[in-house]
Symmetry: C2
Subunit: 161 residues, 2 copies
């Protein structure tokens, strides 16, 4: 329990640090893009490292859907101690992963007032997913959105080579 807290608190600090550092440099809109991409990049590399450990003893995957199911279950449990609650796909390379209680958002109150802040706290996790998929051979674009805290949806669009 409190073990997760170590990661969660560090994540909070990191987000705060990256935003503060960028704020001292640039203007609002551009600044936000850069901070998001710094955090996304960190997540990407962490995701690459983690998936390597997690799939060490896993046999191959039969298709993209099989990979996505692995991300929703094994990968997510490993990181956030719960599975993705809902996975949907259009069978054309777009997947929507819904987590009804995303651990990095549970510290926020449920109201609307922190909604604007939410993307800050999702960038790292988008990177985690993209990094993991990349190491499994899938190029993707991963974005996230929050409609009601602490629930959120990750949209994964696989880029065909």
């Amino acid at each position: 329990m409190a073990d997760d807290a170590l990661f969660e608190f560090l994540h909070m600090e990191m987000v705060a640090h990256v935003y503060k550092q960028q704020a001292s440099r640039a203007e609002t809109e551009q600044e936000r893009t850069t901070s998001v991409s710094i955090l996304e990049g960190m997540g990407f590399r962490v995701g690459q490292g983690l998936i390597e450990r997690i799939t060490k003893d896993t046999p191959g995957f039969k298709d993209d859907l099989d990979i996505m199911k692995f991300i929703c279950k094994d990968f997510w449990i490993n990181l956030f101690r719960k599975q993705i609650d809902n996975l949907r796909t259009n069978h054309q390379g777009t997947y929507v992963l819904q987590d009804n209680r995303f651990s990095l958002l549970t510290q926020f109150s449920n109201g609307k007032q922190y909604m604007e802040e939410a993307p800050k706290y999702l960038a790292f996790s988008c990177g985690l997913v993209r990094g993991a998929l990349c190491n499994l051979g899938l190029d993707s674009v991963v974005t996230a959105e929050v409609s009601t805290m602490p629930s959120c949806k990750f949209q994964v669009v696989i880029q065909k080579a």
Copy 2:
């Protein structure tokens, strides 16, 4: 197991980021001081948050030594899944906490070649200890040294008011 990896990988990324960002700004010696203090400050705030959760149901402590024992045992197990291996004190406010296999150093090879890098990876943890002690009412100065990887010693000097 891989849960810890999430924290460990994020910690690595954070150290790399802070150093890279500072490197693009200042000169070597000063840069190192700043990076260390940024990381130490992050650890401090994380330590404050964590100790609050961990001591929620703990009765009061009878003296400084009692607090230090709690840090070595409960606090350390909570963060790093093992206790401090050895605690020594001069009974005048100085404590030396030795961890023979410190989790944030286990990724390094045992040789001497990474010794210079070690302080980077200890700053956050020094802050963790200082933050925890601060919330328990003790002002302290915490430093760390490595003689053989992955073993390390934290020196805590309590500042009398």
